[in-house]
Homo-oligomer: 474 residues x 2
Amino acid sequence: MSDGTTTGQDEGTEHVDLLVIGAGSGNTLPHPDHHERRILVADDAPWFGGTCLNVGCIPTKMLVHVADLLRDARDGERLGLRDVTGRVDWRAVRDRVFGRIDEISTSGEEYRRSGEPNIGLVRETVRFVDPRTVRSASGRTIEADRIVVAVGSRPRALPGAPFGAFDGRVHSTDTIMRIDELPRRIAIIGGGVSACEFAAMFSGFGVEVTQLVRSSLLRGYDTELTDRFTAVARDEWDVRTGVSDPEVTAHGDVLRVRAGDETVDVDLVLVAAGRVPNTDRLGSREIGLDHHDDGRLVVDAYQRVLAGGEVVPGLFALGDVDSPHQLKHVANEEARIVRQNLFADDADLVANTLAPVPHAVFTHPQIAVFGRTLDAARAEGLDAFEVVHEYGWTAWGWALEDTTSFVKLVVERGSGALVGAHIMGPDAAILVQPLVTAASLGHSVRGLARAQYWPHPAASEVVENALLRAEEEL
Amino acid sequence: MSDGTTTGQDEGTEHVDLLVIGAGSGNTLPHPDHHERRILVADDAPWFGGTCLNVGCIPTKMLVHVADLLRDARDGERLGLRDVTGRVDWRAVRDRVFGRIDEISTSGEEYRRSGEPNIGLVRETVRFVDPRTVRSASGRTIEADRIVVAVGSRPRALPGAPFGAFDGRVHSTDTIMRIDELPRRIAIIGGGVSACEFAAMFSGFGVEVTQLVRSSLLRGYDTELTDRFTAVARDEWDVRTGVSDPEVTAHGDVLRVRAGDETVDVDLVLVAAGRVPNTDRLGSREIGLDHHDDGRLVVDAYQRVLAGGEVVPGLFALGDVDSPHQLKHVANEEARIVRQNLFADDADLVANTLAPVPHAVFTHPQIAVFGRTLDAARAEGLDAFEVVHEYGWTAWGWALEDTTSFVKLVVERGSGALVGAHIMGPDAAILVQPLVTAASLGHSVRGLARAQYWPHPAASEVVENALLRAEEEL
């Protein structure tokens, strides 16, 4: 059958070898090795290819980059540029970005629908009937020897600011990137990664941004990093911390956001207050699967889903639906683990052990982090210390006339193990990589700076110097 | 004695434990461990602190960065920016850069002159009398148990375009950065690293640049890299290759450069045609030290200078005067080697083995390279292959709308050893580092991409993907 299914004994029940629910990282699972397996991929999103491609990492970074160009040029006045002007043609940027992305998404869907004879596409919501069976919204019943849950997460809704309210002027991160005109003023509710990325982007484009945050920006990050980030952010946009339960009301063209004692009038509201796993849409509680408090599925080291603490045979999960990280590169790694374990004997199972897990925040200034803060390391009983090296202490920092950017390393005293890295500043997302490389290969900070050349006077010298500083403290 | 010398038996001969000739990387040699040694540092340059700080890596990059800001913003039109304007206030940039550098240089000299009681400064040219004795221009004779030659290199002069000619309108890289006004038109003679950096800088600032090159741009680099670089450069400035023996003549305010059939009229000329080691000023041939054909001193793996193929006791060299690399980070590493070996017993000598040696070219687009080209690897008998991954095939490349940038890896087939990396594109100088880290730690490309996370969608994914591609070919 062209959609990869066979109809079994039960009238109307389709049987497949593999059902993948969610076409983000889940869609990377089918492999040439599976050409004799009957496979279905189910996805009910209005787009195809998952959050990252359509409404997440990729379009945001394509937009952020343009905003950074404008901001960097303006900032050049500090360095000796003059009369710098420029503006964004928002529609041109948007249409370029989504022209590219939508085409990838569309051709990805087309390929999945008809590109391989053993694979079919179910373009609707499916819910569990039992751990090997799902039923689709239109009434299809699909039984599968293996099911992979890769349904991801969605923006968290806030009661006082429902998505789509006031003629669509209250946005989620799913919709904000496709607006027709940049607003003059925007309120961004939330202080996490996405909220900070959009705040920097809109601010870079010249929009008046007010960010409303329940506690503080980037809560849970190293406190020196969040303090320094907040200080820089406040130079660029209005940050109001410690405000909760925002309520949006409309007054003609104006949206009024009230939260505690704060009131702000804007043209658009973006609610970017975290994400929730899509397990509620999946019926996973009803069939007894184990869930974390935040709604994520519980998996073991082999990405197998648990129920009552026991492995459910044939049931795997990957990505935001189980991972605490909400990171595309983690979802992809989990997909690789699942692919290896899906049809493997127990003896051949591969555990998911890849560490450390870095991530970048493409806000301004850029941030990259992996591992623990000093407090967290100490709370775990590690005899750890931290060192800081400022960009401004290196030649590249002189070129930038940088006064705010830094690299912080958290190191275990005895072993010299690098247990955390916290970088804020230009190119943080790339600068972190040699630290990831070394830590992943099991190398401590001892001797690491001097085991390799660092091209002078590249930005990476700030990492080299942080490592030297760490060694001095060992 | 406050200048660290004692007067010995011979009337007028000063005796010290250590004489360092050259205050660039040489000036990093004296160490707290040496507090009981009598040390002199000699340097005759008009500036203090060596080429890199005063007329090399650091000020060029501080200038290049500003030019890049302007160019990137203008390039933003491609991405959806509009009405981008801006200009450089050259004097503001120059004075900011050299205000900072000159202060570091001056305070460095002051510290070296009087900061430590055992160390003195000889601020004049010295020449060898014998391998343990030098005489200064003013007639001081200094005998030292150890001498370290760190006299570096200087811009190569061309007979047809003498530095300083036509009222100082023919510049070397030593003088070009301190000009009072940007020229409207400049001719840059040379196709190497410095020439390409200055061409990109002046072009970024809006100067009409004509680059005249004997053979091709960046000769000796990977030919695909040089071809692609030349194509991008030609979109930005006028590149004339295959022209030799330039002759500059003046016609009023105009300088005319003729080379072969090419003629170009400009306001200023920069001759950036390579560098020559300063051994001729040192009298090192006259005392029988061994020299390479290009004038560099011959050293062994311990940085000891040779004469007639034999180690000259107590005589070391470091930096451009012996190194084929002409790189500050290599000079600094050689200084660390010399520091360890200077007063060590033969059994404790440390060899200089650090590899690979990366370097970056801060031109536009940026370039970073280490190791061999495929041709060079094969010429050495390696069973090697190369892979290319384009920036444009990664999400970050989409953000840049990049069509020219790439990562090329040269890999030995059997071992998987990474024998070369050739990167052209934004942030190449940083992107190369995880490859340097892994190669320096002895890790092959086998498993390297998947041994670590690469934060999505950072620019470093182009390196990750190049590594995956290389593994497929193994």
